[in-house]
Symmetry: C2
Subunit: 203 residues, 2 copies
């Protein structure tokens, strides 16, 4: 029942769970399948994780770290605030579409299907938003942007990015609109809406 997967089975369970999650998706992720794959009985998983949700939470931890790394790389990859923002937006969408299964358990799955992700861990997830907010603040200091509330803007941007990711990922967008078009348009549109004077768009 301990949280960090250090010893023996705990690691093996988590690894095969992730493997199954990536290869077959969350809908196919079952305790018995994990157990079969590692040659144990299903119930022995409960000796290491209280229930399925706890296991999935551990996978969410991994996903949050992964996304954080990508965003951080994009953040430090450029000094210019606008490029920084663009890089981070792209990193987010790329993560959302590239690691769909992670993204699903992190941000799509209804709280009804899965126990609330523990509140204290949200701080880690919130760091990602704070990185975006700080990039916006940088732009404001540099005189390029002018939003009064960077954190609110970061949440707005998040909503836009999340919408793009989920609609594309679930193939609900009309095929006549290419994914790339929508993605780049949303990034441009986000940055333009933050700009002080939208006419000198030098993205």
């Amino acid at each position: 029942m301990s949280r960090d997967p250090h010893s023996g089975l705990q690691r093996v369970i988590l690894d095969t769970a992730r493997q199954l999650l990536v290869s077959e998706g969350y809908a196919q992720l079952s305790m018995r399948k994990i157990a079969n794959k590692i040659g144990y009985s299903a119930t022995s998983i409960y000796l290491h994780y209280g229930n399925k949700d706890e296991l999935v939470h551990a996978l969410i931890d991994e996903g949050v770290d992964l996304l954080h790394d990508e965003l951080h790389a994009a953040h430090v990859g450029s000094e210019k605030p606008l490029e920084q923002l663009h890089a981070m937006f792209m990193a987010y969408i790329q993560f959302g579409l590239g690691r769909r299964e992670y993204y699903e358990i992190m941000y799509v799955l209804h709280p009804e299907y899965i126990t609330r992700y523990p509140a204290e861990k949200y701080r880690k997830a919130r760091r990602n938003l704070e990185m975006i907010a700080s990039a916006i603040s940088n732009g404001v200091k540099g005189g390029l942007l002018e939003p009064n509330d960077p954190m609110l803007c970061a949440n707005l941007a998040w909503a836009q990015l999340h919408g793009v990711v989920t609609l594309l990922s679930s193939e609900r967008v009309d095929k006549r609109i290419p994914a790339d078009t929508l993605i780049h348009a949303s990034s441009d549109h986000l940055i333009r809406s933050l700009l002080k004077n939208p006419t000198l768009a030098e993205v």
Copy 2:
């Protein structure tokens, strides 16, 4: 197996299914529960709906119509393009947050959990986007807006609205940001980004 629920059980099944969907959510919607509630055996539902997905698709039909009505009301509620857009954005978000269960099966549920919504029915759902696109076109003709591709912009707006709805609905937004603030900011931000000259914001 006929599509339109006209006679007898078909109507009753659909009605109690909707009732259960609204009162307990999709996760709790099961064939046996529906059957129990109407005093039939679970298998008799299969005489009227091929499987659970077909039943849910019928519920989606209702949801699409409902949303369409709301959007249409907002569309004809005002002549001024900007007010029109604002009203439609608000109507969408209000629907998404007010009729959560409908919204979930319509736009959130992963295609992995539910069979693809029949392609021919998508046209109906697409009309909603076309209404937004037409409102944008109206604004362009009126000289207020200047997007080159209204349909792309409509999809961008959709993504933003969808993001706001799903993040708020799943309670993933930091409580320190009030829902209303985020909602109004996203509508404003959407409209501003479409404006020809963002300084004369007369929303």
